[in-house]
């Protein structure tokens, strides 16, 4: 027996492509399944609804993908999103200038939270879980102080800003466009820029990255800033859509974001992952919960199914990866 007879080169390539896209395959399988079970599932309106609702968490997931590829967790995105949303609403309605200022302040706030995360975590990634949980609490507290624990809402929002949350381009809700644009920019950043390459290197092997002249501290700070920034974008989107929020909105939602990112095949240890994968992860999460609601299953059953689907998807990725090794 010689090497070539074992190689099966043609099917090898197909296996490779399948192997690298397990989340998408799972997504297709689930979707087909749901489409058969629930007639309302594959309607244009339902799909746009799912997409629009996924836009918020999805946009953050794009940002968190950066932090995770750099080998660090960012569990502070939940309340960062919340604070951005509350800032956006509280600084309304008034004129265009103020509305714009609100947006800018929210975005800067998001990036600053990222900066702080990055500086605290620094080169010692191991503790990023606990650091960013701490920051999550601090920001929640700040948000509550700022909103005095009260609902925030606004009657009339500056129109262009309102469009960000409620508008449609043709038949496509604008948040979907933002989400997809964020994904496209994210993918470009990852694959077409020096920073993207340095990000993978930093997550994959920080020591080698440093010895190649990469300032890994800086790379991580930027990754965190991107993550915080997208959280703020999501907050603004949601504020523009609902114009009305709870003071503790967002707190705890990092778990959903993390779930998407992990479903999408981003490695917990850094250095691996893609926006494309994260996109699949986001869609899986939202399509599954949409289908659950459509199914009319009890809430308990929904939770159990969600937990199972999460584990099955990840188990599938793991075993495919193993097989291919």
């Amino acid at each position: 027996m010689d090497i070539t007879s074992r190689k099966k080169s043609g099917s090898g390539k197909v296996t490779l492509i399948l192997k690298e896209n397990v989340p998408w395959i799972m997504l297709l399988v689930f979707s087909a399944f749901f489409a058969i079970l629930f007639p309302q599932f594959l309607t244009f309106r339902n799909i746009t609804n799912v997409l629009r609702n996924s836009a918020m968490i999805g946009t953050i997931a794009i940002g968190m993908t950066f932090a995770m590829i750099a080998g660090t967790f960012d569990l502070s995105v939940g309340s960062t999103m919340g604070l951005a949303a509350i800032i956006t609403i509280k600084m309304q309605p008034q004129t265009g200038g103020t509305a714009l200022a609100a947006v800018v302040i929210a975005l800067i706030m998001g990036a600053m939270v990222g900066l702080i995360n990055g500086l605290v975590v620094g080169r010692y990634r191991i503790n990023s879980i606990i650091t960013t949980i701490g920051i999550e609490y601090v920001i929640l507290g700040i948000t509550l102080v700022y909103s005095k624990g009260q609902h925030v809402w606004v009657e009339d929002m500056y129109k262009p800003l309102e469009f960000v949350g409620k508008g449609k381009l043709g038949t496509f809700p604008f948040p979907i466009i933002i989400f997809l644009v964020a994904a496209a920019i994210g993918q470009l950043l990852l694959s077409k820029t020096r920073f993207g390459c340095q990000l993978y290197a930093t997550g994959g092997n920080p020591i080698a990255a440093e010895l190649s002249g990469i300032n890994i501290g800086k790379v991580r700070v930027i990754a965190y800033m991107i993550s915080g920034f997208t959280a703020a974008v999501a907050g603004i989107m949601i504020a523009a859509r609902t114009q009305n929020l709870d003071p503790s909105f967002g707190f705890g939602q990092e778990t959903d974001v993390l779930t998407c990112v992990l479903l999408g095949g981003v490695s917990l240890y850094g250095g691996k992952g893609s926006i494309f994968g994260t996109l699949a992860g986001v869609l899986i999460l939202y399509i599954v919960s949409n289908a659950m609601t459509l199914s009319g299953a009890s809430y308990e059953l929904q939770l159990i199914c969600k937990g199972l689907i999460f584990l099955i998807t990840v188990a599938a990725s793991v075993s495919w990866q193993k097989k291919g090794k």
Partner: protein, 511 residues
Amino acid sequence: MRNENNPVIIEMHRISKFYPGVIALDSVDFCIRKGEIHALAGKNGAGKSTLIKILGGSTQPDDGQIMLKGKEIVLHSPHDAIANGIAIISQELMLIQELSVMENILIGRLPHNAAGFVDWEAAKTVAAEPLKQLGLELDLSAPVKTLSTAQQQAVEIAKALSRHAEVIIMDEPTSSLPNREVDHLLSTVRRLRDQGITIVYITHKLKEIFAISDSITVLRDGKNIATLSTSETNQAKIVELMTGQSADSMFEKGNSSSSDIPVLEVRDISRKNAFSHISFTLYKGEILGFAGLLGSGRTEILRAIFGCDAFDSGSILIDGKEIKEFSVKEMIRRGIALAPEDRKLQGLVLSMNISDNINLATMSSAIRNMGKEKKTAIKLFDSMGVKAPSIKALVSSLSGGNQQKIVISKWLATEPKVVLLDEPTRGIDIGAKSDIYTLVEKLAGEGVSVIIVSSEFPELLRVCDRILTLHDGEINGEFLHNAVDEETLVAYASGSVAQYSVEPISKSEVK
């Protein structure tokens, strides 16, 4: 000789192991006799490690059987191998850094009383036993992370002995040992054999094979090419069996392309506890060797020059200009490159592909120029003769020698003036080594200056124009390659010669 008379202890029969796209072992027969030292030789990727991993129970064969003293055994896990008296000391030392010497030796088998509590006194006695057998004295309660590599290796051997292993398998035990320690290890191995323990010894160093082994098995491309009695063969024959080609031309020094133009001047740099008063000048096109023992400070000096670590005093000049700002980035900009000593840990991002690794240090613009990157990668990939399916292959899938070529390629992509190579040939086979020597000479020919750190002095003599010896963080000798022999280098490196008893040779004499 004893080879033929001793009874067979282990017989591996028609062992095959497949990885996707690779046949690591192709129906290999491997026979070990009791009480012999059996060397296993072969190029990188020949299947040596795979074969012994199967013997150690950490990898399962796809086909074939293993007989221990005539009885078939099946090894599901390392535990089974240990239970059968087979111990493996793998290439990367497998110790638990935070735990003590004693606990590492007795891992999983700490003596305990009926209630399950460890009997530390008994543990001490049991752990001291194999160390005594090795003629070593170590602080049993010191954490392993405080030990030197050689000491850690001794702990590994003690671990095997304490389990009364009948067969001890060592995978490249000397690849990170200093020469002095190598001799010590070799005598330990002999001593073990004389105590009736069977040894399988994997190495890329032919000298060692002939120094200690009783028989040799050569693997090539996953096949057993030959098993020979050591006394009935010679180095050239083995090289030929390993590579499939004659070994004649492999070890000749090419022409020197050294010039008079100083490129890098290091003036009296010192750092506490690492090196002191280091001064030397590197000329354009020169290949300079650093000969020293493990821990003599060579790595630290290279890292200081490359801007990774600071130094306390002294200065560094490049092209006659003193460097004020020390950072890796700045040094890369000024044309310095460092291929670090540990490829996997420091040199490569294993989860990225070949092309990205090669271009990692060169990306000058914020937006990547994919076309240029591809061109650079392909050029270096071809000129270095990397063996891989394509430049998109993950570096984790490459063999050691090919990985080293990628590390060097990464630095060549920066078009450096000075290349610092820290142990560039550690753990790579003769063929790949020879490739790297040729490459270094070619670079020098193109006007690039090179510093090579190596613990293998013949290698330095083979490739360098000039050699500095280091002892205890200080330079204590300087030689032209044709004015020195290995014994002298060893003498200087080990510090058994007084400081600078040889007149430093001025540059003009080289010409």
